[in-house]
Symmetry: C2
Subunit: 242 residues, 2 copies
DNA sequence: TAGTGGTCTAGACCACGTG
DNA sequence: ACGTGGTCTAGACCACTAT
């Protein structure tokens, strides 16, 4: 007899929202243990199964990591073997590849309209431009140009990047509290222009994979734009479809 | 006091296995409704919640599709709006793209070692080679070479492909009962060779995205190998990372 | 109105990791 | 031995779809 509720939202979704808030406001930091399911159930006044379903979704989105017998941890780009979580490369021989990065430059500039649009900021807002290469066995095979809205990365310098021995995302997470949660990539084939050819030690005109990535943190806020040029004669970009 | 079971397998995983068997042996065909959760619970002698968790995983893997109030259906490459489930392209303007395919040839040949390895069959086993283009607004922008182990596609001809107005996967599903469930892609940038340049109306040497896809059906059995060359100056290959 | 999947609960027990 | 997440159950109720 009761009318159906047009704005129905499952309890576990609301709990999920509360958990995301606690993650976002830093109540639980990357790498830390969050309270147990029963404790959270008590805190929010719901059953343990409802908390479980909320955490299930967070785990599916890689915001947290469950470890049986130990607890649930906030996901981190550091110290996990989740290094290079977003970079899926396989060598032609079929092995996974671990690149080594070399930072070339960091500049503070004003965003052009192109970059501003893709970062959802105002044109002429300040951004850092980071250039680097990723190499395998000493040979640079990826050249990245990375735009970071300056507002969220105050104090970024080339020296700090070069001094850091973790992943870029690991560094940005621990130094600026910016957590990369999700990204969208658009991939094309292009011809190497002079700068790319130079950085990658290939002739101009060499076909390169161009990967444009927009990365997001909580609430889908854009916090990185990146264009990478890949020399793919020894390896491939790997993707799985379901 | 009881010793832990080293070969522990959750009940819902076993149920999932039974459900997959029924899907595989054709008890429920693509597009059909499968029995309700309560009925399956009765059949297997478990609770409805256990069946639910099994079906949850099948739905997450796109083997079945749940529709609230109606039931659970076997996934299909036909009649769904799940057309081109594995092809994620976006135009530079940001819209999704719906290609139109043109079949060029079908040949029955013996697999070379390269193809045989990637299809997990014996060299010199017979395979069909299908060539086609995908176009947008009449302009061919993707050239595909598709290898299909002949054993599973008896009677495939160019005429049948040309006569069919559904997706390739939709056709292979209804004509041969082969369901593409999962695929792995390796992507590179290459220079257009003569055949590709010819088919795609671009000069030789044009940078092309080369997408090599291995497709699998139940039990991860390889049932397709495909190499596609994409002219990516008007659109991109889209990928989402989590 | 009947049947389906979707949510929520409460409680029991198991497997895993750590002391 | 203890606490955690993981499984399983049984039952109640809600939302959606079809008839």
């Amino acid at each position: 007899m009761a009318p159906p509720n047009p704005t129905f939202s499952p309890l576990y979704q609301q709990i999920k929202g509360l958990l995301i808030q606690s993650l976002q406001n830093g109540e639980w930091k990357p790498g830390e243990l969050i309270p147990s399911e029963t404790e959270l159930a008590g805190r929010y006044g719901v059953s343990q199964g409802t908390v479980r379903k909320a955490i299930d979704e967070l785990a599916a989105e890689n915001l947290v990591v469950r470890k049986q017998g130990r607890g649930t941890f906030v996901a981190t780009h550091n110290e996990d073997r989740a290094q290079y979580r977003f970079l899926r490369l396989v060598s032609d021989a079929g092995q996974a590849l671990v690149p080594k990065s070399t930072y070339l430059s960091v500049d503070r500039v004003r965003a052009n309209t192109d970059v501003a649009t893709l970062l959802d900021i105002k044109p002429s807002d300040p951004v850092f431009v980071v250039k680097r290469t990723l190499g395998f066995e000493g040979i640079p095979r990826i050249f990245d140009e990375i735009w970071l809205p300056a507002a969220q990365y105050k104090g970024l310098t080339l020296e700090r990047l070069q001094a850091c021995d973790s992943t870029l995302y690991g560094f940005l997470e621990s130094a600026f509290g910016v957590r990369m949660l999700r990204a969208v990539e658009n991939i094309k084939a292009v011809s190497a222009q002079s700068e790319q050819a130079d950085r990658l030690h290939v002739p101009e005109g060499t076909p390169l994979l161009m990967v444009e990535r927009q990365s997001m943190t909580y609430a889908d806020q854009l916090v990185e734009l990146r264009r990478g040029w890949y020399v793919t004669d020894q390896f491939s970009y790997r993707n799985e479809l379901y």
